[in-house]
Amino acid sequence: MSGHFFWSGMPVAFRPGETIAAALLRAGIADLGRPDGHLPGGRVFCGIGACQGCIVAVEDAAPIESCLTLAREGLRLGPLPALGTGHD
């Protein structure tokens, strides 16, 4: 294992060159979203960045496809629409 990023504040280990999706799935995190009743939550589905089901929020940046984006040390991620902004 080569590093950790954070999912909702929890550290997740990843291997070098691995996508965020692969690391999350290995950690048993398949549910990527906060469904709000009428919108389904996120999860990895097509694996090629087309379905946008695996989109995750990134601290201080725009959301990204977890199936396409390489995991990086210290990245802070969470379910859409945004990381704990306290605006709810």
Partner: protein, 385 residues
């Protein structure tokens, strides 16, 4: 044959104005055929932001009409016609420089003089209402009585509740005259006979009415983002930068001007606009213009840096040569009523103006004095030319 008492009106243009006119004509017992080159809300109505706003209007007849039109929305929502489609939402007029602050203050005074509630908001209060607002924002006014409605939803609601014959993919070739009176509309080889014709076709009105020099297309490019919120609008009001006000008040800038508005949609997404490109009537968007709009938007509201653009699109506004809409009986051709030239104010004014046009077609007086919008004003100009 239908009842001989029922007037048959052909309405050209199924945007918000035409749809409203058709609705109110049908409600009054008229027989209505609504014609569109494409379909309901296929033009500017379907490519607009959701502002039902008095705040953005030029002082004078426009501001006054907008107050009537917004009150009309409130009544229609309360009476059920627009239930669930119209929402109260403040407009914030926002300044980022001392010059802009002066403009905003002047505009606020004009609004107050027209009877509108205007609230001065200091930076601290503004930040509490709209967290994350840009550091360059120095002054703002809140217009708390403004509202929000989506053009294509209003159009669909207006058309869904009446027995109107809608003809899609039916471009009007010409208005057929017989003995100096409108007799109907030619669609290809077919004549749709009618007792009266309403032209509410936006930029498509020009060739039908011989108004080529008087109507000016003004393209506006916009972008829609993903959701910032899962539960309703992401911020507490519609943000309107001084640049938008400058354009609406006719303070000339170089062409390609951006009048910045940030519209928080009910879905939690943002609609960000927009460019003002005179004499452009195409629907293409280009990266440089959209990028420029986004740079302005990020300066005004930096939290947009956490959003993604889902799509870009363009609408074509119909402006008139003197900046006022054209509503009234055709000066020379009997049986034709015109309702166009609403520029970027069609969503706000549309339902009310459609209702006024319906009254005119039925031979009644409209709810307000529309003399300032009369098509006659162009005839006089030409007579002196």
């Amino acid at each position: 044959m239908a009842s001989s008492a029922a007037i048959h009106v052909a309405v050209i243009g199924a945007g918000i104005v035409g749809a409203a006119a058709a609705h109110f004509l049908a409600a009054a017992g008229a027989r209505v055929t609504l014609l569109d080159a494409s379909g309901p809300a296929a033009g500017a109505t379907g490519a607009s932001d959701g502002a039902v706003s008095v705040a953005s209007k030029r002082p004078g007849p426009m501001m006054d009409l907008a107050r009537h039109a917004r009150a009309f929305y409130v009544r229609c929502e309360r009476d059920g016609l627009f239930r669930g489609l119209f929402h109260r939402r403040s407009t914030f007029l926002v300044a980022r420089t001392a010059v802009e602050a002066e403009l905003v203050a002047r505009h606020g005074a004009d609004l107050a003089a027209a009877g509108e509630r205007v609230v001065e908001v200091d930076r601290a209060t503004l930040l509490a209402r709209i967290p994350g607002l840009g550091a360059s924002v120095c002054a703002a006014l809140e217009i708390p009585d403004d509202g929000h409605a989506l053009g294509y939803e209003i159009t669909q609601r207006l058309l869904g509740r009446s027995r109107i014959t809608i003809r899609r993919n039916a471009p009007a070739a010409e208005i057929v005259m017989r003995a100096g009176r409108a007799a109907g509309v030619a669609i290809g080889d077919e004549l749709v006979a009618a007792d009266a014709v309403l032209v509410a076709a936006g930029i498509g009105s020009a060739p039908l009415l011989g108004l080529g020099e008087i109507l000016i297309p003004r393209k506006g490019q916009m972008a829609v983002t993903d959701r910032a919120s899962l539960s309703g609008p992401a911020i507490d009001g519609h943000l309107m930068a001084a640049s938008y006000l400058a354009a609406k008040r006719g303070i000339a800038r170089e062409d390609g001007h951006i009048g910045l508005v940030i519209d928080p949609l009910m879905t939690g997404q943002f609609l960000i606009g927009g460019s003002r490109e005179d004499h452009r009537s195409d629907h293409a968007t280009d990266a440089r213009t959209i990028a420029a709009i986004l740079r302005e938007a990020l300066d005004l509201y930096p939290p947009l840096a956490q959003r993604r653009v889902l799509r870009s699109f363009a609408g074509v506004r119909t402006a008139s040569r003197d900046g006022l809409p054209i509503v009234g009986a055709h000066p020379r051709r009997e049986g034709i009523v015109i309702a166009t030239g609403f520029e970027g104010d069609g969503i706000c004014l549309g339902p009310f103006m459609g209702a006024c046009a319906a009254r005119l077609l039925l031979g009644e007086a409209p709810a307000v004095d529309l003399a300032a919008l009369s098509p006659q004003r162009f005839v006089r100009v030409e007579a002196h030319a």
